[in-house]
């Protein structure tokens, strides 16, 4: 019970760590729940950046030493930003909850899905084995070492833990472990439910800005059910998939639902979080930014490309921070690949593409993918879906390139990875389908 309390407290404290963002003029007009999600994203990114800097400077972590600077900076920025005028009136419409039967049914479906996720995680039926092999292991060791332990990451017999993976999840999970004095191994997988629920306010807000209340509720329900079932199906409890899904969804929902003139501070910060969570996060961020720029260009929005650069700069800064840390502490700089870069086995292309598609079941016989794909296919205009399509196609191409490095049959590795790694693309695909599918009603 004690570890459960500190586990929850350690995650909830991320919100005050990033609370300043909730007072930023561009974010202040969002509903309270969406502002809390924004603060959570900022807190997680801020804690990770601070943790890396402290270790890089040779300062040992402590609960107070990690918390105090973040709370202080957050308070100062919140005070400054709250004195500035909010975003122009009318730029962000206040969302209205629907009260009809559609809203009740959508809510029921979403709650059933969340109950299924919670029950699966509590009964340890959705735990990622990687959680006990390395994600949780890194968190436990970092907490015990009071820092991102370079000696551990350099150790030849820690190679299995992929030391080059970005550090956000181990850092964020080490913090509650330091609070509790030990790792909450049994409750750790529940973090997946926390990140899923945390993305919901932003999903709802982005949809509600563009869709009628019943339509937004229906799409948000489908999103919750599809991603909830996928998390369980892909055994994403305790690994980095749910945080990556959170960051991608916050960025993608905001960008897909944006109205010209909106600030891009929140999606930029979320993409930095994605880049600090997994190597795929940086790759996916690149495809998302390219898709957004292409959509804006085709829509004739002014400065379509120029407005994309700050979006790309944020995840690049996240990657540079991690690579800079690696360099500062004497680790090999960069990500570890699955073999020499151009040692590709093209004879496997057909087998890989087939296995990629076969493993897009998402625990629903593929219906989670087929339904939004059909909606996008039969909708006009489809331009709004471009960023989501860029992430989907980009992710599959990136993975194809990765799997081509396997000399043998990569089918088994594909069956392990595809259900997890494609979740951000599924999330954005559903949101894009919702936005394009209801476009005519506007």
């Amino acid at each position: 019970m004690k570890t459960l309390f500190f586990f929850a407290a350690g995650h909830l404290l991320l919100v005050p760590f990033g609370a300043a963002l909730a007072f930023h003029p561009a974010i202040r007009r969002l509903p309270v729940a969406a502002r809390l999600s924004a603060a959570l994203a900022a807190g997680a990114v801020g804690l990770t950046a601070e943790a890396l800097v402290l270790t890089g400077l040779g300062v040992r972590w402590s609960v107070a030493g990690l918390s105090a600077p973040l709370l202080l900076v957050s308070a100062i920025l919140a005070w400054r930003w709250s004195r500035q005028p909010a975003a122009p009136e009318g730029a962000i419409d206040p969302p209205v909850l629907g009260r009809d039967v559609a809203f009740a049914l959508a809510g029921a479906a979403a709650l059933l899905a969340l109950a299924h996720v919670g029950a699966s995680l509590v009964t340890e039926r959705a735990t990622s084995v990687d959680y006990v092999f390395f994600w949780g292991v890194k968190a436990a060791r970092f907490a015990a070492a009071r820092g991102v332990d370079p000696g551990l990451l350099r150790w030849e017999y820690f190679f299995h833990a992929v030391p080059s993976y970005p550090p956000l999840v181990p850092v964020v999970e080490a913090f509650p472990a330091m609070l509790a004095g030990e790792m909450a191994w049994r409750t750790g997988p529940l973090a997946a439910l926390f990140w899923l629920v945390a993305a919901l306010p932003v999903v709802w807000f982005a949809l509600r800005r563009r869709l009628p209340a019943d339509g937004a509720a229906a799409v948000a329900a489908f999103w919750t059910v599809a991603l909830g079932l996928s998390i369980v199906w892909s055994f994403s409890g305790g690994n980095a998939e749910a945080p990556l899904l959170f960051f991608f969804t916050v960025a993608g929902a905001t960008l897909l639902g944006e109205i010209p003139g909106d600030s891009r501070l929140l999606p930029a910060l979320a993409l930095a979080g994605a880049a600090l969570t997994k190597a795929e996060g940086a790759v996916g961020a690149g495809f998302l930014v390219a898709g957004v720029a292409l959509r804006d260009r085709l829509a004739g929005r002014p400065r379509a490309i120029a407005r994309g650069w700050p979006l790309a700069a944020a995840p690049a800064a996240g990657v540079l921070l991690w690579f800079g840390f690696q360099r500062a502490v004497g680790l090999p700089v960069g990500y570890t690949g699955h073999g020499p870069f151009f040692d590709l086995h093209f004879e496997n292309v057909g087998r890989i593409l087939g296995a990629e598609l076969r493993n897009l079941s998402a625990g629903t016989g593929g219906l989670s993918w087929i339904f939004p794909a059909a909606v996008i296919l039969f909708s006009r205009p489809r331009r709004a879906a471009l960023p989501a399509l860029a992430v989907f196609a980009g992710t599959l191409l990136f993975l194809l390139f990765d799997y081509l490095h396997d000399a043998g049959d990569p089918s088994l590795r594909i069956s392990w990875t595809i259900p997890r790694v494609t979740q951000p693309a599924l999330s954005l695909g559903i949101l894009a389908a919702g936005l394009t599918g209801f476009e005519k009603r506007r």
Binding site: E124, R125, V132, V137, Y157, M183, F235, T364, G365
Partner: protein
């Protein structure tokens, strides 16, 4: 009067409930005793073989000093790497020393190992070590003092 629910909204909600049928079917197909249970390890529902190893390590970590130097052995050699990976996290302040790595035995067991955490059916004797504890799923050996 409230507006009627649109066709598209109905389709999306129906699709949401259609998705929920899939876990329901899986739930119904599960053996009655396996639907709801309180797990003892993070792996009970996904890898029962590793759950046994987890239980062993969880007991073992209470029986050795926090900052000891240990290695891991297993009577089921194919599980030894898995047990080693988990042990690094379950004993976060200790100094792990592998006996094998990815199913390749090391030429020599590290010389400074103080404890051997043996998962599975332990041998009667382990040269240079003496058994100090027998657990449900294995045993703990400590380096014997030099004669």
């Amino acid at each position: 009067m409230r507006p009627a629910v649109g066709t598209r909204t109905r389709i999306w909600i129906a699709a949401s409930f259609a998705l929920l049928v899939f876990p329901l079917v899986r739930w119904a197909q599960a053996p009655a005793g396996g639907r709801l249970f309180l797990p003892r390890t993070p792996l009970d529902g996904v890898r029962p073989d590793l759950a046994r190893a987890w239980t062993f390590l969880d007991e073992a970590r209470r029986a050795v000093p926090e900052r000891c130097r240990f290695t891991v052995l297993s009577s089921d050699f194919s599980l030894e790497m898995d047990v080693f990976m988990m042990a690094i996290g379950l004993l976060p302040s200790a100094y792990p020393r592998p006996s094998s790595y990815y199913e390749a035995p090391l030429a020599r067991r590290p010389a400074d190992v103080e404890y051997v955490l043996y998962f599975g059916q332990p041998p009667a004797e382990l040269p240079g070590f003496r058994r100090i504890s027998t657990l449900h799923e294995g045993a703990i050996f400590r380096r014997a003092p030099p004669r």
